[in-house]
């Protein structure tokens, strides 16, 4: 939000005190941001590219990429259904426990991923849920399905927040107008709210996809980090660092960074206002 009419101090190049003050703040900023940039650029400029290419084409990397993509696409689909439902409920309905619901949905973002993974492991790995799952033949713990489940629980809060913001930014009077013209709640949602929130929904999906692809701690605990079985890109990075295979690790790191950057760029373009 542009804060209209707020003045900003422009150039005043005169008193020693003011100059020192600005130099101090600027210096700290430049040193930290410089190191951060350098660190991020290391990943792009350091590796020998021939190694990166051969790593990228290795059987393990191709497996990992394919598995990451498949699980992420499935997870994003589920996440968006959840995010649209919960986001709309939060944005439009008033009910007791509204604030509690918001907090519970936001909680996983504040927890370390590892802890969320442990929680899911306890839920799905113990009775009664494990018994139910066995009856319907679904295996979540240490399985590929577990990857998707871990990704869904990790990414859903982020997508929900973006979608919620998108619905909230739509004046509910649009829906009231639609309803005064004869639409029911479903009609107003389908013909007005969803198309108006289009940008926010797509942005939420992009964020969800990036979170799914990059999800490490939760996947590691719930699905295990087994080579060539539950091996997604972050797992590949971790396993290969452990084996000392830096080229493979850097390759997956580069892929992950590209996905994150692409997501950020798309998100910024779509949704300047919703960005927090």
């Amino acid at each position: 939000m542009a804060q209209m009419g707020l003045p900003r101090h422009k150039a005043e190049v005169n008193t020693m005190g003011n100059r020192l003050f600005r130099a101090g703040l600027g210096g700290i900023t430049i040193v930290f941001v410089g190191m951060l940039l350098w660190a991020m650029l290391s990943l792009i400029f350091m590796p020998r590219w021939a190694e990166v290419v051969s790593s990228a084409l290795s059987e393990e990397m191709l497996y990992s990429i394919r598995l990451s993509l498949i699980t992420s696409v499935i997870s994003v689909a589920v996440v968006m259904i959840l995010a649209i439902s919960i986001g709309y409920v939060l944005a439009r309905f008033q009910f007791p426990g509204h604030q509690l619901l918001r907090t519970v949905v936001d909680l996983p973002m504040a927890f370390p991923e590892l802890v969320l993974g442990l929680c899911l492991l306890l839920l799905f790995g113990n009775e009664p849920v494990s018994g139910w799952l066995k009856q319907v033949g679904i295996d979540i713990v240490f399985s590929k399905t577990g990857i998707a489940v871990a990704q869904i629980f990790t990414a859903a809060p982020y997508a929900t927040r973006v979608v919620y913001a998108a619905f909230r930014s739509i004046n509910p009077r649009y829906e009231l107008v639609a309803r005064s013209l004869g639409c029911g709640q479903w009609g107003a949602f389908w013909r007005v709210s969803l198309p108006m929130a289009k940008g926010g929904l797509f942005a939420g999906a992009v964020i969800a996809f990036a979170r799914c692809m990059g999800c490490f701690g939760t996947v590691l605990i719930l699905a295990g980090g087994t080579r060539m079985f539950t091996e997604t890109l972050p797992i590949t990075l971790y396993l290969n660092i452990s084996y000392g295979n830096l080229a493979m690790a850097m390759t997956s790191g580069i892929l992950l960074i590209l996905i994150s950057l692409a997501a950020i760029v798309i998100f910024e373009i779509l949704n300047r206002e919703v960005v927090l």
Partner: protein, 383 residues
Amino acid sequence: MNALLEIRDLSVDLGEFSLRGASLAVEKGNYCCLIGDSGAGKSILLETVVGSFTPLHGKILLHGQDITDWPPERRKMGIVYQDYMLFPHLNIFDNIAFGIKQQKVPRKQTQIRVQDVAARLGIENLLHRDIKTLSGGEQQRAALARALVAGPQVLLLDEAFSALDVASRERMRGLLRELVNDLGVTVLHVTHDMEDVWALADQVAVLHDGQILQTGTPEHIFSCPRPGFVAHFLGARNILQGRVIDCDPSGLTCIEVGNIRFYSIDHAPSGQQVLISVRPEELALARNQLPSTLRNQLPAEIDRMERRGPLVWITGQAEGFRLQAAVTVTGAREQDFKPGDRAIFAFSASSLRIIEQQKVIHPDLALNASIKSHVISQALIAD
């Protein structure tokens, strides 16, 4: 009751804003303007009528049928907001056709109906444009078309002209007046612009603090405002409390305030306590008694003179009360009045209105608590 729309004792609580037992009836085909200060609950009333809020108490009746619990989509009302609220993902045609599409009307007929109403509002050439390419006035006409094309029983306008420039506003008023007459639609129009009231309203309702304080024709409300908020809000000043000492049905009513007698053409029974009011602009000032038909001529000492734009406001101090006159700059200059001068405050018996007959004395209205009221009401209106 044959009111089309009736609101009975409606209470809605939204915390900051609320309605507290508002009642109003609008007859079929009537144009009702709802005025009041900001925070009075005007928009809430409108949105409760359209079905956005469930009231705590009270009822909304349409054709005598209780629709209080109906969802908005069943009420057949159209609403138009200050900021248009056109759907940004649809072009003008699809915006206007929105309500008809919901009724599953054949495409051909939809075309005809949309084009018809668009032509009447002068936007038939804009139908395939994106809403962002339209001016405010054009957008508001599209919003009006959208609300009218579905054939609403009641049209609700929420400050519908406030965002427009003066020229578009006047054009819109003309178009609306015509359309509303032709379609016979009943209108409830929330506004803070007195020009809307003068140009459009058959009926005015004054809302304050969640309650309807007075309803009536614009002329009636303006000339006989209820004392208290309504009078202040509409700029009535010079409210005095007196007692009727004589009333000749064929002639004038004589009212005594202190030991001064006033004459009014309004009637009230002898002995009755009344509040009387005369608008400052109806007072004339003179050096001496005027040999004229003006029945009320009161000597007073000029207390204060204040120029405000084209007028000079002159406050006079008489025996125990004050009168305020608004005269033109030329008038004041010709007579060369200065504070401290003695002057005759003169006004006709037809200018003096009996605005309330009362048994109980309103202590806060008695005599002259009204010196500052014109400033307050101006501030309210400007807001």
